[in-house]
């Protein structure tokens, strides 16, 4: 084993109220392939951002080639040969491959005119393309490339910067099987050239296939390192789980009733070959777990009529319904609280009261004119009921905290008659106190007969709040868990596509 050239020592990172990283250490030797594992929110991405110089650590040392670096920035990281292949690729659709690789560093001629020397540009990129055996030319427009090819462009860009360590954040999450195979070969090639690779992934087979070492993070701490011989899925999952979950669970007042929502063989555009079926009963909270990108949000959007359903059907109270717009869903009592609160859930510049009344504005109006006192009265009632912390319902929603904003979204739907409530990441970016209030409200709603589908990537939340859990993996439901089968182990197994 060669000496590590890159060391992260005792790295800590705290955000207000959250410890993202807690004394994490990681060292990288030339030509080493390291897999970084952990659940959503374990601190993997934060650690990589520290290494890439994007985030400054609160404590700890970054040591490169034996020298401690203080005030380490993105520029320092690039100079040290650390390259980041981003999850959402940072490339220009309107340029060709060579233009993207050398963006900001174009070879020029013509003195003060600074004309781009296109011939040199292409000549520089050509050997790099050959090195990865990529199937495109320097002058291929980026717009014509697939996602997998674009990833290669990012790697070529990294190599053109003489990268010694390439960081990839979930590089295979949206690749097909054969594309993934290609990427594994590319990683092996980099390794052979002495370039180190750190990749974050949830696909354990890939780790077994190509990693020299797997480092597992949990709640911002390193919980274990597995070397080549010890790499197997069971060992990795054992390390990823195992924290003590607080017991949040409040049992329902009565056993769940009839089936309210019946989704049969639903197919969405993201996974055109995978059908999803699930049933939601009156008074139950069904948790929908799975990794980011497993198709949960798409399913919710299809049920709510934002996205078309390519095939399959939805029945409500036993009757088949066709829902092609959110309006149609709302009129039937199916409400969605979206993941993107600021973009889709709220009008941030609008007052609280006007946000709450928006989906049902006609009922506040006579002769088409809005009765503002009725609107304000209802908003005041909802404010008290949900404990929205605002002095006045005329305040703009954008001035509230995340938790209070989420309560306003909830208040919109509670002013009406919910039958099915779909809650996509109910407590993302919300402080602990507001979280508990939202959980209490969910249980009260369920006890009042509402059927609740709760999409969540937060393990504690899924296990602590749901009456039943459905787990999705790459567009299909990989299993249902009854209360007695709830465990982090089981959810994770299903989420990575294994059976339990």
């Amino acid at each position: 084993m060669r000496e590590p050239f890159l060391e992260l020592i005792d790295i800590g990172k705290t955000y207000p109220g959250v410890v993202a990283l807690d004394h994490v250490s990681l060292s990288v030797a030339p030509g080493e392939v390291i897999a970084l594992l952990g659940e959503n929110g374990a601190g993997k991405s934060t650690l990589m951002r520290v290494l890439g110089g994007v985030v400054a650590p609160s404590s700890g040392t970054v040591r490169i080639d034996g020298a401690d670096r203080t005030g380490y920035t993105v520029t320092d990281a690039i100079a040290a040969g650390i390259a980041f292949v981003h999850q959402e690729l940072n490339l220009f659709d309107n340029l060709d491959v060579a233009g993207n690789v050398f963006i900001g560093r174009e070879p020029v001629f013509g003195g003060p005119l600074r004309l781009i020397d296109r011939a040199t540009l292409r000549a520089k990129v050509r050997p790099l393309i050959a090195r990865l055996a990529a199937d495109f030319a320097p002058d291929t427009p980026l717009a014509e490339l697939s996602l997998a090819q674009r990833q290669l462009v990012e790697i070529i860009k990294a190599l053109s910067l003489n990268a010694r360590c390439v960081i990839m954040d979930e590089p295979t999450s949206s690749l097909t099987l054969s594309e993934t195979e290609r990427l594994m070969q590319v990683i092996a090639g980099l390794k052979a050239d002495g370039v180190s690779v750190i990749f974050i992934t949830h696909r354990l087979n890939e780790v077994v296939q190509c990693a020299d070492r797997a480092v597992v993070l949990r709640d911002g701490r390193t919980v274990g390192t597995l070397t080549r011989g010890e790499l197997n899925p069971a060992a990795m999952i054992r390390l990823m789980i195992g924290r003590d979950l607080r017991s949040l669970y409040v049992p329902p007042a009565a056993p769940p009733g009839n089936i309210v929502l019946d989704v049969v063989d639903a197919i969405t555009s993201t996974y055109p070959s995978r059908a999803v079926s699930l049933q939601l009963r009156r008074g139950e909270i069904l948790g929908l777990a799975g990794l980011v990108g497993s198709g949960r949000t798409e399913l919710a959007r299809a049920i709510f009529g934002v996205e078309p359903l390519l095939a399959g059907g939805i029945s409500l109270d036993g009757e088949p319904v066709r829902i092609s717009t959110p309006r149609a869903a709302i009129d039937r009592g199916i409400y969605l609280i979206p993941e993107d609160r600021k973009g889709c859930g709220l009008l941030l510049d609008f007052p609280i009261a006007e946000n709450i009344s928006l989906p049902d504005l006609a009922s506040y109006a006579s002769l088409g004119l809005v009765d503002r006192s009725r609107e304000t009265d209802n908003a005041d009632r909802q404010r008290e009921r949900l404990k929205i912390r605002a002095t006045d319902v005329k305040m703009q929603v954008g001035t509230l905290s995340g938790g209070n904003q989420q309560k306003v979204v909830l208040a919109k739907w509670l002013s009406m008659r919910p039958k099915v409530l779909i809650f996509d990441e109910p407590t993302r970016g919300i402080d602990v106190g507001a979280k508990q209030e939202i959980y209490d409200m969910l249980r009260r709603l369920a006890d009042a007969g509402v059927a609740i589908l709760m999409i969540s990537s937060d393990m504690e939340e899924v296990i602590g709040v749901s009456d039943r859990i459905a787990v999705m993996h790459e567009g299909r439901i990989s299993g249902f868990l009854a209360r007695s089968e709830f465990s982090e182990h089981n959810v994770l197994q299903l989420a990575v596509g294994h059976s339990i």
């Binding site: 007052p351 928006l358 989906p359 109006a365 809005v370 001035t399």
Partner: protein
Amino acid sequence: MQKKDLSLLILILVVGAVVAFINPRFLLVGNLSNTANQVGMFGIFSIAEAFVIIVGGIELAVGSVIALLGVLFIDLIVNRDVDWILAFFLIIAGGVAIGTMHGVLTTKMRIQPFVVTLCGLLIYRGAARYYTEDATAGFGYGASFPMLEWLAAGRTNVLGFPLPHSVVALVIVAGIAWLVLHRSVYGRYFYAVGKNEEAARYSGIRSDRVTISAYVICGGLTALSAVLIAMYTRSISPAVHGSFYELYAIAAAVLGGCSLRGGEGSIIGVVLGTILLQVLQNLVNLLGIPSSLNFAVMGTVILIGVLADQYFVQRRKRAPSARGQAAAEPAPASLERVNAE
């Protein structure tokens, strides 16, 4: 009335006072009445434009539509002996049809409104010129429509002031538009779609329909002003009639607090914006400024106005953070948007 509208009103009064001080002819009844007439005609299509801007669109064809529909209206009643009441409704229907087309093209076909209405601007102007073979359309000898002329271009003496009927029309239009925009369910939808179409959709608003109806309202109101302007000018040379009127409309809307990003603006503001533009026009005439500088003066005043507004917005934005716990303060900045009481 919003704070923004109030400051616009004060600006109008200040500019008016300065003009009156330098040239007292500004205050002559005849001059005021003529300026009011301009305000009436320009105000209606400025309100039309405001509807489209509030839903986040733009309508560039206003001037060309005024030329085309004006030519058609005169042709219908003068040359084709169509009853003027019927002709009036045909012209309004024409405006509505044009608006519907623009709305459908921008929403269902997903073409940018700037492009759609720019093409409209070129097409309708060309159509108007072709229709009259580039000749001036007007009322020949003996052609007389006393009732129509009185209604559209007449003036009624109110307490010694000859009040142009175009102003009466503007007051009615503005009153209804105010009720629709600031008090009705539909108005709330206009603002919601303009502000954040995605969030509006998630709240069950059929955003395409809302956007199309804004273009339809715009087309209908533009047609109304086309008739008023045709009856006022009495002769239309289709190559220049109504040229740049869309820019007057956009300027009035922007002065009146509309954001070209959509979701903002008030009817009172748009009317005040129209008044300011016409007073400036009058100022150029009365102060002996070369009329070639007309647009330059208007452009400068609008720019200064927008800059001043931006300055105050920034200051108000900075103020709360300096006070720290400002979340408890009621109604900051643009919250006054719909509180148009």
